[in-house]
């Protein structure tokens, strides 16, 4: 009771902060003349200044090949990476429902994206919202400044939009009804994801470091705020809104298939190269270092978690290893194109430590049923990574102090956090008016596989 109130209060606070954050930005950022692609790229491409100014860009087959394969890798993160990672951790009777969260996200978001999502996110619009100029990908042709067809950018960004609602599922797994999930995903991507992507990555976005008029020129190389903090916080809100699973926390079975979860984590790891290196939008030196730092961050974060587990539980667990690796990957995501090797190592260690502390110590005290620790891992490590990017970036934006950059990062984090917290809660209430969100006791004890999909994942006898 008390806690729920405290949380509501915090959410309210987030709302206010978010509102406060948006208003000045909306004013300040209305002038950016650059096209999305150019602006987006201009900042990250160090070695290719020439390419940006030379107008008649020709197709660069290397960059195009790279970005198409990276898109495939990022889709692989969701299908089947995240699906397996999450699916292996739930009980046998719910695995299909988790796989379906991922599949449905891929299906629904893809359709949304090409119809209006891309336009909402990357249409010029203003500092806060996109516009409808690119409905049905209208006019999205030609090449970007790296010689990559703009349609590839649509595809690449689509894979980011797909994974985000699927990540949220970690917060409400084992208890959200499937029809409600579909509706939730539809609304959430449209109303939460698209705006935030616009803020952070679009030419006129009020948090986009490439926008000279941005309210806060925050660095987010590959989606720390847009994807991970966003999904993590939304997952937290869902977990609170839906309440605990029956039997939580003591009468729940352990992960039903840890090898699945590990395979899923491995595919996340591999796919993350597409996510992080691909966010450079070209196969160049920045992409190369982003890839290497991604690898190192995953590794050192896994080691960190194992060591902490070893010290505090006596054994290094496999679930700990993959959780740590994912936490490291999350933490390095906003940073990987802006920091150096040592920065990556530190960010990963701190990100994993923070996530570990939350998941292992804080969470049990909060009595919070964040089923698969979507907030604990993506939210916490995402916030740590986003903030530390301000401190460890090799060059701050416009040469401001690292503290100032840190403040920019903080602003971006707070805006995202507030907006998604409030927005997600409202969407859940809305969805609940249309179709019950929470599985009832019968549906939950029988398992969502049978109750939502009329299927069982495995046969017993054969």
């Amino acid at each position: 009771m008390m806690k729920q109130k405290t949380l509501s209060f915090l959410l309210g606070l987030g709302l206010s902060l978010g509102a406060w954050a948006q208003s000045p930005a909306a004013d300040a950022a209305a002038l950016s003349p650059a096209t999305t692609a150019v602006a987006n790229i201009a900042e990250t491409a160090v070695a290719e200044v020439a390419a940006v100014v030379a107008p008649p860009v020709v197709l660069n087959s290397g960059n195009t090949a790279f970005m198409m394969i990276c898109s495939a890798l990022v889709l692989l993160m969701t299908l089947p990476g995240l699906a397996l990672f999450y699916g292996g951790l739930v009980r046998k009777k719910n695995i299909l429902s988790v796989l379906m969260y991922c599949l449905a996200s891929a299906a629904i978001v893809s359709v949304v994206w090409v119809i209006y999502g891309f336009s909402f996110a990357f249409g010029d619009g203003n500092a806060v919202f996109g516009d409808t100029s690119k409905l049905f990908l209208n006019g999205v042709t030609g090449l970007d400044a790296f010689g990559v067809p703009n349609l590839v950018f649509v595809m690449f960004q689509l894979t980011f939009a797909i994974i985000t609602p699927a990540l949220i599922a970690g917060g409400f797994a084992e208890r959200m009804r499937f029809p409600a999930y579909c509706l939730f995903t539809l609304l959430w991507v449209s109303l939460i994801y698209c705006p935030i992507a616009h803020w952070v990555w679009s030419a006129k976005g009020f948090l986009f470091h490439g926008n000279p008029d941005a309210w806060a020129k925050a660095y987010d190389f590959a989606g720390g705020t847009v994807v991970h903090i966003n999904a993590g916080v939304a997952a937290l809100v869902c977990a609170i809104y839906l309440g605990k699973r029956k039997g939580f926390p003591n009468r729940l079975s352990p992960p039903h298939n840890l090898p699945f979860a590990i395979v899923g984590a491995c595919l996340l790891w591999v796919g993350w190269f597409g996510f992080n290196a691909g966010s450079e939008l070209a196969a160049d030196e920045t992409a190369a270092s982003a890839m290497l730092y991604t690898q190192v961050a995953a590794a050192v974060a896994a080691v960190t978690w194992l060591v902490l587990d070893g010290i505090f539980h006596g054994k290094a667990t496999a679930l700990g290893a993959i959780t740590g690796a994912v936490a490291g990957l999350v933490a390095i995501t906003p940073a990987c194109g802006f920091v150096d090797l040592k920065g990556s190592l530190i960010i990963a260690v701190l990100g994993a430590t923070a996530a570990w502390a939350f998941v292992v110590y804080l969470k049990p005290k909060l009595n919070l049923d964040d089923t698969l620790d979507a907030f604990g891992v993506h939210g916490v490590a995402g916030i740590v990574g986003a903030l530390l990017t301000g401190i460890f970036c090799v060059a701050t934006k416009d040469g401001i102090s690292h503290f100032a950059q840190f403040m920019n990062q903080l602003k971006a984090v707070v805006c995202t956090l507030g907006f998604t917290a409030v927005g997600t809660w409202i969407i859940l209430m809305l969805v609940n008016c249309i179709t019950r969100v929470r599985a009832d006791e019968r549906e939950e004890t029988v398992g969502l596989d049978v109750s939502q999909h009329k299927e069982s994942a495995y046969t017993v006898i054969d």
Binding site: G247, R251, V446, V450, E455, V460, I461
Partner: protein, 113 residues
């Protein structure tokens, strides 16, 4: 000494174990089984194929007890597993001739509990 075999719905397991513990019955052996009965489950569908649900997931409990615990055990099982729906299951009670605790080699009534 009696050997109680109970077939219950899988989602009642926790409940039944809790009720048994309340009656101080701690030793139970649990098996995953399939039940063939009158109950038709929520029909499952695989593409065109509707599974009639002729074999449904069940849990089998086996409990060796002294006579004094038979009725409490039955009550506990009924208490935890009864929903009033078809498929709730059965309890069978059988005689046990001998019981040995492997750890100590103890026999009979002392061994069973």
């Amino acid at each position: 000494m009696k050997y109680i075999i109970a077939i219950i719905q899988p989602d009642r397991l926790d409940e039944v174990l809790m009720k048994l513990e309340e009656k101080e019955i701690h030793l139970v052996t649990v098996t995953q089984v399939m039940g063939h009965g009158r109950q038709k489950g929520i029909a499952e569908v695989y593409r065109s194929h509707k599974e009639g649900g002729s074999l449904l997931r069940k849990i089998k409990l086996e409990i060796g007890v002294n006579e004094a615990f038979v009725q409490p055990a039955i009550d506990a099982i009924l208490g935890g597993a009864q929903t009033g729906n078809i498929g709730d299951g059965k309890i069978f009670v059988m005689d046990v001739g001998q019981c040995v605790r492997i750890r100590t080699g103890e026999k009979g009534n002392d061994a069973i509990g």
